[in-house]
Point group: C2
Chain length 155, copies 2
DNA sequence: GTTGAAAAAGATCATCA
DNA sequence: TGATGATCTTTTTCAAC
């Protein structure tokens, strides 16, 4: 894994703020000429540091105002039980974020939905269909205060 | 606010999967010629449906392996108390996600950090400096199972 | 909404320092 | 690792249909 220097970090920062910035502009921002700048970007893409580029969409404006957080406890926590659960989660498009947690609960996931009914359908038709679920606790978000893409990387 | 038809939704879907796809390729994918396709993208950008474009960065690979979830309860919940809290959150780069919640806890936020010490510093130097914090409960993520950008929009 | 063409901007690559 | 310059691709912006 290549080490990141100050210029790499500047590049990452700029690309998180604007993924569509041109190489020329980016190069100018970080104090390089376009070629070496493009080379650094390519290397970071290949190394998986830059995983990809995405348009950021307003959830509400596309009819998905609900974010529900579900805390999930499994009955068994062997490696293969976790893998099976994680495979399922990866396939469900309603689950936007999912973390394996320390402490009481095993997983914390954020599920988006058009309304409460759609969320209930997700729980009933998908989540509870898995054997191995010990408990589910849901809290709903009243609003998104922040969802940032910009990681707090040292300058 | 313009209504989204099936083609708009396809465009959104493609742009979430690859924010850097060219207009030509995108047009082909959604079954349009480039000009109207570019126009639809521009309109959705202006309407704020597409909020922007960002590079997706691997948190671990840039030295930020810790994700901590902090549940926060405020002492007072008047409009202005919430606003003040949300302003602070918006300014703190360590907080990547933050939601206003129903139920017992007022806010749920995800804080990223290089290590536990950095997280503690965030809590001590920033979060607890706010008056109006009644309680903080932290759980740590052992790993990120999923963080998707692709919203589950009806086809 | 489509097509086609021309102008402008951007990406890429070989090469040299 | 960075700079330069030639080349090739893509985007944008028109017009006309």
């Amino acid at each position: 894994m290549p080490k990141l220097d100050a210029i790499d970090r500047k590049i990452i920062r700029s690309l998180q703020e604007d993924g569509k910035i041109s190489i020329g502009e980016l190069a100018e921002k970080v104090g390089l000429s376009p070629s070496p700048c493009a080379r650094r970007v390519r290397l970071m893409e290949q190394a998986g540091i830059i995983k990809g580029y995405a348009a950021i969409i307003d959830q509400k404006k596309v009819g998905l105002p609900i974010s529900a957080f579900a805390s999930i406890k499994l009955e068994r926590q062997r490696e293969e039980d976790l893998d099976r659960f994680e495979d399922a989660v990866s396939r469900w498009p309603e689950v936007l974020d999912c973390y394996l947690m320390t402490g009481q609960r095993d997983y914390l996931m954020r599920v988006v939905a058009a309304d409460l009914e759609a969320y209930e359908r997700f729980i009933k038709d998908k989540l509870t269909r898995l054997d191995n679920i010990a408990s589910i606790e849901t809290s709903f978000a009243l609003g998104q205060v922040k969802r940032a893409e910009l990681l707090p990387i040292a300058r």
